[in-house]
């Protein structure tokens, strides 16, 4: 029997709509869900390796209890009954002694987090966190400071833009299928693409203008751009007059930051900056300054992102064809949204361990800050943390300094990993509760905001081939065993879907046809003359009183970045289009595409160091070092070296990836506590390493 099933890909955090053909219970074909016109049948390499992930046996195939020391890898296969009973009794004891607040939880956020948040709340803990302290948090907080709304409040009309400006937002490799298709459509329509990055990525190869900026100086360049745009009147005066406050203070602040000044800081010629600004003036208002995705890089990334957000306002590109648009929700379509499971759980009154909303009133409480929670766990301040749920998140490679993290994790009494892979973090847990691959599980329904809002469904397409469970089953069962069934009173996924849909007028069957439903037929655009913003004044605020009240300046004078010890290089990292987040390096197909990363180094320093392309080199910082092959290329700025992230796993059972390539995060020593005080993000690009030729023998 052949069936067509629409679901949502789970190979990476982009979660594209996909269509799967199942023949007699076996998945035989997967492609993009063409019911979504922007998607078509397109599917990236990671999505293409879906079946390989399912068939891979180098993954946890049933519940595992740790036997030896943490990280030693001595596991005992147990039944789900034993695993649940172990976790719930440990948790019960911890909660009785230290309270529900002593439990923390981290995942990779996203549209299916509501049930997990409900679980954490039901335990009486305020400590749900996503991964965003190493991703979009600075951009998110920057957006809130300017527009009074998080970064996801806007989306970008790439296909119709006339000028897209990207500060290292590597759209072709940190890949979202629909996004990249729209960007290419825009380029085909003649859009300009200005790409700024110390590394000439594939995206740089598509750009109409590429600037190999000195690493760590984005903010300087943005200051000069804003300076010149205001100086020449290259902005949308009508829009700014109507909607923007604080322009005078901004203008005064920008006074010293001329293009000539920026040339010295960034290495980009003043005349080129001026020509760019002139072009912006011709292209506006269909201009997009992408405010960054993973933009937790430097100590001033929050301020740099604020500048990008502000540039969009100056360009008048808000709610504008070819610019930015508000993503519309159910309410905009005159409908009710999905009912939240977490919202129905009584609020937890405890202070968050990470201080979001209390010690750090300017940080959003919804996603928290994992590095600050780890600090709280380390110091038992404001209170002890004793248990940690790690849900398909891999903090040991995502956050800096794995050794330091392990030291802190050792203070915990219980670490539970829910994962599909033996991630480095799952390997360090006490219990692994293996989740079914996305093809084998359903998730809660998701809200899909956009010009045409709707709901989407990930549905189970095939039966699990291993002894695994869906995430929702795991948390519902744990809640039941901990006496919290009233908050997660579900037996089946249909119970959950029906609960979510109860006010919407939509039924489960409505998803059969396309995999998603739309709440309106036509795109919704707001009346551009009647926009209102979530800030105190209802305007776009360049000067933010709330931040100022907390001693955080709206505008911070430029401070040139540290250049590191003499002879050292700034370590930059990134990803390619076919492996992400260390989740795919051991995939049976994707591991074949690339099984080790290389160290990009510029020909000039490479020649000085006697390093040739393909040579083995030793990367060192203090007493940490590792070996990797050099890729000698002018595509990386001479002051930086670069490597792809996600390599160098320590997990012996990831046999295809073990000891292949080098991990960048081991060189971020001391960086767990080096974070952006204004934006909250961890500074991931502020580490320096030395490079020298290594002995030439092949390493196995």
């Amino acid at each position: 029997m052949s069936e067509i099933k629409h679901t949502i890909c789970g190979m990476c955090a982009v979660r594209c709509p996909v269509t799967v053909r199942v023949q007699d219970g076996k998945p035989v074909w997967i492609e993009g869900n063409a019911n979504d016109a922007a998607m078509g049948k397109s599917l990236c390499a990671k999505g293409g390796a879906t079946f390989a992930q399912r068939d891979d046996k180098q993954r946890p195939l049933g519940p595992l209890l740790r036997m030896g020391k943490r990280g030693e890898g001595q596991w005992r296969e147990v039944t789900w009954e034993e695993a649940f009973s172990f976790v719930s009794s440990k948790l019960q004891g911890i909660i009785e002694e230290h309270g529900g607040r002593s439990v923390m939880f981290s995942d990779r956020g996203g549209p299916f987090a509501d049930l997990r948040q409900a679980f954490v709340k039901a335990l009486g803990s305020p400590n749900y966190m996503n991964h965003d302290c190493t991703c979009g948090r600075n951009t998110h907080h920057a957006s809130r400071s300017v527009y009074g709304m998080g970064r996801k409040g806007f989306d970008y009309d790439y296909a119709n833009t006339r000028h897209l400006v990207l500060f290292g937002r590597n759209i072709t490799e940190s890949l979202k299928v629909k996004e990249v298709k729209n960007v290419l459509k825009g380029l085909k329509n003649g859009a300009h693409l200005t790409y700024i990055d110390p590394r000439f990525s594939v995206t740089a190869g598509k750009a109409t203008r590429y600037w190999q900026i000195k690493p760590g100086t984005d903010y300087a360049l943005l200051l000069a751009i804003a300076h010149h745009v205001l100086d020449r009147g290259y902005y949308d005066a009508t829009f700014v007059e109507h909607y923007v406050t604080g322009l005078d203070e901004f203008r005064t602040f920008l006074q010293p930051y001329t293009p000539e000044w920026a040339e010295e800081q960034t290495g980009i010629k003043a005349k080129d900056i001026m020509a760019f600004c002139h072009q912006l003036n011709e292209d506006r208002p269909s201009v997009i300054f992408h405010p960054g995705w993973l933009y937790t890089r430097y100590q001033d990334s929050f301020y740099a992102s604020r500048m990008m957000h502000i540039m969009n306002a100056l360009m008048g590109s808000i709610e504008q064809k070819g610019g930015l648009f508000y993503v519309k929700g159910a309410k905009d379509a005159g409908k009710k949204g999905l009912k939240s499971i977490a919202a129905a759980v009584p609020a937890v009154k405890e202070e968050r361990a990470d201080g979001c909303g209390s010690r750090y009133p300017h940080f959003d409480t919804s996603g928290g800050m994992l590095h600050l929670a780890l600090e709280a766990a380390d110091k038992a301040d404001p209170y002890p943390i004793k248990a940690y749920f790690i849900h398909r998140h891999n903090p040991l490679i995502a956050l800096p300094d794995p050794e330091e993290q392990r030291r802190i994790l050792d203070k915990l009494e219980l670490i539970v990993a829910v994962d599909i892979n033996y991630s480095d973090s799952a390997w360090y847990a006490d219990v692994i509760l293996p989740e079914s691959t996305y093809l084998e599980r359903s998730d809660i329904l998701r809200m899909e905001k956009g010009l045409k809002p709707g709901f989407g469904r990930r549905q189970q397409c095939v039966a699990p081939i291993n002894n695994t469970k869906a995430g929702w089953e795991i948390y519902v069962e744990l809640a039941r065993r901990l006496g919290k069934e009233e908050y997660l009173p579900f037996k089946t996924i249909e119970d959950i879907w029906n609960y979510q849909l109860q006010d919407t007028g939509v039924s489960i069957e409505d998803f059969e046809d396309k995999g998603f439903i739309k709440l309106c037929d036509d795109p919704i655009w707001y009346d551009r003359d009647k926009l209102s913003f979530g800030t105190e004044s209802g305007k776009i605020e360049l000067f933010n009183k709330k931040l100022e009240a907390q001693g955080i300046p709206s505008f911070i004078p430029y401070a040139a970045p540290d250049e590191g010890p003499s002879g050292s290089f700034r370590l930059l990292f990134g990803r390619c289009g076919y492996q992400a987040h260390g989740q795919h390096q051991n995939n049976p197909i994707l591991s074949q595409l690339l099984d080790e990363n290389h160290l990009w180094i510029h020909p000039t320093p490479a020649a000085e160091l006697g390093i040739k392309d393909g040579d083995w080199v030793e990367v060192a910082q203090g007493n940490v070092s590792g070996r990797i092959r050099a890729k000698v290329t002018g595509r990386i700025h001479p002051q930086a070296v670069f490597m792809l992230h996600g390599f160098g796993t320590q997990v012996p059972l990831q046999k295809r990836a073990l000891n292949k390539g080098l991990a960048d995060q081991i060189f971020l020593q001391g960086k767990l506590t080096d974070w952006d005080k204004a934006g909250g993000g961890v500074n991931l690009c502020q580490s320096f390493v030395t490079i020298k030729p290594a002995a030439s023998q092949e390493l196995k």
Partner: protein
């Protein structure tokens, strides 16, 4: 030559290698076997930086060297459309086809000790579909077409561009 042509618009290619993965997944090809391959081409050091990706598969030649060289008749060409393919069961792993092919296209599968190669997903073509690489290309930069159609499409696009500037 086969009557078909896989056309690549290099401008729209992002080197994401989805084509390689979709091929491997569909054809269950062996470790390290790439029936199609995205080849990265960068500008020489010192020149203006550039990175492009070129899709290379099999040309399905009119008089395929590989077919002529094959001693067992495993390497074949379909009469109806010129697709060159290998009948795995008849391959003895002598690698003559690999040596004979001017572009070294036939792929060696070390696990089976046999050769594999692109057959343009002929089972899909026979079912009225397109090859996996083309069907699911991330950006749509690959098109399954014929040389005549490709030429016509290219001329049409060029003509439309000219007419944009008509007096």
């Amino acid at each position: 030559m086969s009557k078909y042509h896989v056309l690549q618009d290099v401008k729209d290619c992002i080197g994401c290698r989805a084509c390689e993965v979709h091929c491997k997944e569909k054809n269950n090809s062996g470790l390290g076997v790439y029936n199609c391959k995205m080849v990265e081409v960068v500008a020489p050091e010192g020149e203006k930086m550039r990175v492009d990706f070129v899709y290379l598969s099999c040309f399905h030649c009119k008089k395929p060297w590989c077919v002529d060289a094959c001693p067992t008749g495993a390497m074949r060409q379909r009469d109806e459309d010129g697709i060159v393919y290998v009948e795995g069961a008849a391959c003895v792993g002598c690698k003559a086809c690999i040596t004979a092919c001017p572009w070294t296209v036939p792929q060696w599968n070390p696990e089976t000790g046999r050769v594999e190669k692109c057959d343009l997903c002929k089972d899909r073509i026979d079912a009225g579909l397109e090859p996996a690489c083309v069907t699911k290309c991330t950006t749509g930069c690959l098109t399954f077409t014929t040389p005549a159609k490709a030429s016509q499409a290219s001329r049409q696009a060029f003509a439309e561009r000219i007419m944009k500037h008509r007096r």
